[in-house]
Symmetry: C2
Subunit: 465 residues, 2 copies
């Protein structure tokens, strides 16, 4: 592909994306295909000779798009949102075009310095503790996912507590509602499943600090070493908010590491009135949230901070000869390879920079506020209808509810809605109850989309009394 | 940014990248700035109101580009190459634009099925073992880096060998020349540094299978459990090739897991005449190589295969209620979230698909052959010059050499070349000898660039007799 061909193909790709996003409501939100349907329509072997880029764009329309579930649809209400935005798409494009690799400061200083800068911008924008600033003792880094972030935190906590020698005695605490990544990360980090205590939750599904306290005391009394506590601000199931200040006090008594997972909810702190999600963060040893969920930045973009970077670097650094360089040895720079498992790294700060500059704080706030308001509106509709029962609080953009007919009705409603192609939502279970999760957070989601979803729910309930 | 504004900004970004790549030789290859120079030129706080995208492009020229080390420069000879290409850049753009998240087959079937397809295409294109096909018992997945791949392999090996309960007795073997990611991954996976044996190498810096055999026997005799062997095909330092067939035999005697790291060299197998890099792979339990190094695909793109996916899924799967779905429960689909640490995942297959289609096998072969040939040419120049000593073999695109004046001269030569801005190369150490590494593998690298680098080396050596 010559430079001129690249320009032409690139313009065509941009226009293709613009057309896709403008027409996104024409597609069924949830892909209706059977397993194997996509692959069956593509050649079983790679081509011997190159093909024009146009052929690829044609196959996107013919094969790929019909095989997608459309996460950017304004009627995608499943899981949590995974926002993209025009500035973030172009930031990712620029990252791909520059093709630099920022494993060390020296391998592209701008890649490291812009990342430190936007992470510090976020500390200001979200009103996070000053200790998280890269200009202080702590600092922030962009990782791929909250799963990798909790693994990183577990690794540092284990090493700080004595490492492999002490590992069999080390204990991990998180609530019964914590994300599966805590258990997965713990297993990857060498812990046995029995070294994880799933702490009970209260009626709001938030971790009970008294139960945490008891569990740690019992373990300590029997010679075990409380090592790591993961609190969740905005659980995946229902956006329950663990009481971080009380959890922090219990954690500190045992000298354990406190990680706070704000994967979804952390974005809310862009709005001053929603900064209850930051309560107690000044006591956290590490914290993460995902701009790729609710802050307009393409996946992957998880922001991970530590209050003190020394134990992180101590746990992660290995410096072979072929990576030695004067800047690293001067101690005056950040080498982000020591802040996570991967060595190589993309210039992910570009997309976050693009989002923060093109939206500004006011644009990001308006984005989050719209969803919180729509969630309240939707919750009000549920509360006013006798066939639906809203479950739990609605602090942010997620509304959980069930049909009064019970699990079977609720499941049938879900399947009906999703099969319609008009919207997509997913479920969870609380106790024995199946709940539907209406996660309102799409960049293109307006009240009309929430209203259309609601109208379908009501129509189904009237047809299935 | 409205759809029309997105089109205009997108075209401008594509043109900006085209201009950057066309003018890339105008910049010093290695960034000459001091720490802090980039950050100092940017605002300390994020903007309150949004700015136009043009302002960002202007700052790219003003602040970011001068702060880069230009990995895509044809005179970048450092580390290993990190190739991008026009089709890969556009594949990444399409990934960003679609914004789908392929954690489960159900969350976008095309994301999973295209990934399985291109991984199977690569099995054919590189002539890898049939057991690696996703249509067989094994299969492949795209991960971010070879560091994550080796951590994945270590985790599976540990679990297969008994998991956390047995961990204190488990042993890891790799050569003294292995990449630092093995030691880092082992530490993250909960191993103590003393559980890693660094096996001696022969004169070619390849692992000695006899030494491996002795180390495993001694450990087994003392009650330890050999668990994991990592062989490297194409070491980072000098592209030494561990003898995988002999290593596999020794590994099998102890029932240990064999991982083969072909991060750089694996791309060579696109050429039939270079498939010596595949020797013994049919015995590997897992294998990885990085198309983002030498196969024209933007970072991040590490291809990881297993011969049998059952132990991988056994080690990685955790299925919370909110991810349950009919397709997963049918067992008829691949859910790639169970193939690595992260839960969420980008549609990375698009860029690999774009590369394989737009270059075709013949285009990828020509790319690799050109570099291998240039490396031979450069090695010939070194061999014909009395002031330079070539060290080791040149099986692929890396040539190691030193100045006959010894370490001080070699270091001075390196610093002179890199300070010139005309080219960039990095070093390694073998024993006490400092060697320069000329890694020839850029998409835009032609003989003229290698010749210009050589002319500078000769000129320096004549000026510093």
């Amino acid at each position: 592909m010559s430079p001129d061909e690249f320009r032409a193909a690139g313009h065509a790709a941009v226009d293709w994306i613009a057309d896709y996003l403008e027409g996104i409501e024409e597609h069924p939100v949830l892909c209706p295909l059977e397993p194997g349907a996509v692959r069956r329509r593509l050649p079983a072997s790679p081509p011997e000779e190159g093909e024009p880029f146009d052929a690829l764009l044609a196959d996107l329309d013919r094969v790929i798009v019909p095989g997608l579930t459309h996460w950017q649809s304004p009627s995608f209400f499943g899981y949590f949102p995974s926002n993209t935005s025009p500035p973030a798409i172009l930031g990712d494009l620029l990252c791909a075009g520059l093709g630099v690799q920022g494993m060390l400061w020296a391998t592209s200083p701008a890649c490291t310095e812009l990342e430190s800068l936007v992470m510090d911008w976020l500390v200001q924008a979200l009103s996070l503790p000053d200790a998280f600033l890269t200009t202080s003792k702590g600092g922030g880094v962009i990782q791929d996912t909250a799963s990798s972030a909790v693994l990183t935190a577990l690794h540092v906590a284990r090493e700080r507590a004595g490492g492999a020698r002490k590992l069999p005695r080390l204990m991990i605490y998180t609530s019964t509602q914590a994300h599966s990544s805590v258990a997965k990360g713990a297993k990857v980090a060498g812990f046995h499943p029995q070294q994880i205590r799933a702490i009970e939750v209260d009626d709001s599904l938030a971790m009970r600090p008294d139960a945490l306290r008891v569990a740690m005391a019992v373990d300590a009394a029997s010679g075990k070493l409380p090592c790591f506590v993961c609190a969740t601000v905005g659980t995946t199931s229902t956006t329950a908010l663990d009481p971080v200040p009380e959890i922090a006090r219990a954690t500190q008594e045992h000298g354990a590491w406190l990680h706070v997972d704000g994967a979804y909810a952390g974005s809310a702190a862009i709005c001053p009135e929603l900064r209850f999600v930051n309560a107690g963060l000044e006591h956290a040893d590490s914290y993460c949230f995902n701009p790729h969920k609710w802050l307009l930045t393409n996946f992957d973009c998880t922001c991970f901070w530590v209050r003190d970077r020394a134990p992180l670097l101590e746990a992660m650094s290995i410096l072979p000869e072929y990576l030695r360089n004067a800047a690293t040895e001067s101690g005056a720079v950040i080498d982000y390879r020591d802040w996570h498992v991967p060595l190589g790294r993309r210039f992910r700060a570009l997309k976050l920079w693009a989002v923060m500059r093109c939206y500004g704080l006011s644009g990001m706030q308006a984005h989050v506020r719209r969803h919180v308001s729509l969630a309240q509106t939707f919750a009000g509709w549920l509360d006013g209808h006798e066939r639906f029962e809203r479950i739990g609080e609605v602090p942010l953009g997620l509304v959980c509810f069930r049909h009064v007919g019970g699990n079977e009705s609720t499941e049938a409603l879900r399947d009906h809605l999703n099969a319609s192609g008009e919207l997509y939502l997913t479920h969870t279970k609380v106790g024995d109850d199946l709940l539907l999760r209406m996660a309102i957070g799409g960049r293109l989601t307006e009240e009309s989309h929430v209203r259309a979803a609601w109208d379908q729910m009501v129509a189904w309930s009237e047809a299935n009394p």
